[in-house]
């Protein structure tokens, strides 16, 4: 059984990316630290908000992300997507194809779909619905991110948030409209001076939140 932990930095950055373009399908990657069978998502790399079902720029960004992760001793083994249609929490056909290219490199990859309903202020659960790849298709992991640690994961994987502060801090950042500081690869290729890999400004802000 693999235990996946999501840190504040990864969760907040991904959610803020979704908040910056609330009308569009938005996707990105998670960088993870692997230690004795446990996988901890330490950072998020926002990718795109336009043309999210097309592969070329995704390929470029993914390859660069993998190179960048290597220099930091991390692995790219998470993919997140927030669908334009707020009611849809299933992984779309395009989303599963893109996530499959991650599997080819790292078989512990998990795909997350952002559940818009759980972004509401009163929600007490993480707004991520994990999909795990098994028997050549993506399967939803129900009961993930439930409050008690480790009680989920009957199917071979457990998902927890780093601590209780993650949701509170993310909420605070959303209310402060911190999302304007997030830059994704899409913006980066329009203006290469925007740093999508490190996102220094927003990373600092999340750290102090």
């Amino acid at each position: 059984m693999i235990e996946y932990t999501v840190s504040l930095q990864a969760y907040a950055k991904a959610i803020l990316h979704c908040a910056k373009y609330p009308w569009a399908t938005v996707h990105g990657l998670f960088l993870a630290e692997k230690k004795d069978g446990k996988i901890r998502f330490v950072d998020a790399l926002p990718l795109a908000h336009n043309w999210t079902s097309l592969t070329p720029m995704f390929d470029v960004a993914l390859q660069q992300a993998q190179l960048y992760a290597k220099t930091k001793g991390l692995a790219v083994c998470g993919y997140y997507v927030a669908n334009e249609d707020t009611g849809a929490t299933q992984l779309s056909a395009a989303g599963s194809l893109l996530a499959k290219t991650l599997i080819a490199v790292d078989d512990s990859t998990v795909a997350f779909v952002v559940d818009a309903k759980k972004l509401a202020p009163e929600s007490t659960r993480a707004a991520l619905v994990p999909y795990v790849y098994s028997e050549s298709q993506w399967k939803e992991q129900s009961g993930a991110f439930s409050d008690t640690k480790g009680s989920s994961g009957t199917k071979g994987a457990a998902f927890v948030l780093e601590n209780n502060r993650v949701l509170v801090a993310t909420r605070k950042l959303i209310d402060e409209r911190a999302e304007v500081g997030v830059h994704d690869f899409d913006e980066h290729v329009d203006d290469v001076s925007l740093d999508w890999l490190q996102n220094t400004t927003i990373s600092e802000r999340i750290k102090t939140a």
Binding site: W23, T25, W51, S53, L54, T55, P56, M57, D59, V60, Q63, Q64, L67, Y68, T71, E84, D85, G87, A88, S92, A93, A94, R177, V180, V189, D190, V192, S193, D195, L197, Q198
Partner: protein, 286 residues
């Protein structure tokens, strides 16, 4: 004219969706009444602020602005559409639909109302019906490139790349010098595996727009991929069967194009910070 009005006009012309900024810029203008400095454009500014406000969920602002517009243009179809839109935003799609239907009953050629009805279907998650409606709309208004673009978007969301490519060809026919459409068309073709067309379209992008980053990334990607496939022979490379490379240029040209892309990308990235530059250089295998 004040600088915020200028910025608002810029955002309006670029047709980018930046509601947060629009509201921030317009708030002092609305409060102080200096919005009238916009002259003839003042009604356009009001409409812009209204749309930004419903986008941001600032319904009170939207209502106030809408009242001003209603006072000036009561009974106008364009204002009526805004009433429909605010109802969409506050969660009354049925009311909105009723308004749009009324508009169409009065004038069946009202394109704004027809488009809103399609957007309404999309907002309710009924993508396939939206596609049907859009196709029948385009049968009548075959020169509406925004609608073709929307249809391409809906097809892409439904994983129908060939159909999306058709829509984009239609858009390119209408605006052949706009490199963004060539870019999108290239990406769709690349996704479908038509590498030869994708490469040519990416080349068109950098021809129309000097040092376009996406364009050079695409050229590098497509040229290297074609070289890879052709040098391994069609049979050996895995899943090479669904790639189309017949009309690709010769090997020497491909190599030169790949090299050109590398050079330009290095030049473009010369001003960025270390982490980015190193990553890109590693990606280019320098």
């Amino acid at each position: 004219m004040s600088s915020s009005l200028k910025l608002l006009a810029e955002i309006r012309q670029s047709s980018e969706r930046r509601p947060f900024e629009v509201l921030k810029l317009s708030e002092p203008l609305l409060n102080k009444g200096s919005i009238s400095q916009a002259g003839d454009d003042v009604w356009l500014v009001y409409e812009q602020v209204f749309i930004a406000a419903i986008d941001e969920g600032e319904i009170d602002v939207a209502k106030a602005v809408l009242e001003i517009l209603h006072k000036r243009f009561g009974g106008s179809q364009r204002v009526k559409r805004l009433y429909g839109m605010i109802n969409e935003a506050v969660g009354y799609p049925d009311e909105a639909k009723k308004l749009y239907d009324e508009m169409l009953e009065k004038d069946a050629t009202n394109v704004l109302a027809s488009k809103r009805l399609i957007a309404l279907l999309k907002s309710q998650g009924q993508y396939s019906i939206a596609i049907q409606e859009l196709v029948s709309y385009l049968d009548t208004h075959g020169n509406d490139f925004e609608a073709w673009l929307e249809l391409a978007h809906l097809y892409l969301a439904n994983h129908l790349y060939a159909q999306a490519a058709f829509c984009l060809e239609e858009v390119i026919l209408q605006q052949p010098a706009n490199h963004y459409f060539h870019l999108c068309y290239a990406e769709v073709n690349y996704t479908m595996g038509c590498l030869d067309i994708a490469l040519k379209e990416y080349l068109r992008v950098v021809e129309l727009s000097t040092d376009n980053v996406r364009g050079f990334y695409g050229i590098k990607l497509a040229a290297d991929r074609i070289l890879d496939i052709t040098s391994h022979g069609a049979g050996k490379s895995r899943d090479s069967s669904h790639f189309k490379v017949e009309n690709a240029p010769q090997k020497a040209t491909l190599e030169r194009l790949s090299q050109l892309a590398t050079e330009r990308l290095v030049a473009i990235y010369s001003g960025t910070n270390d982490a980015t530059k190193k990553t890109v250089e590693a990606w280019l295998k320098l």
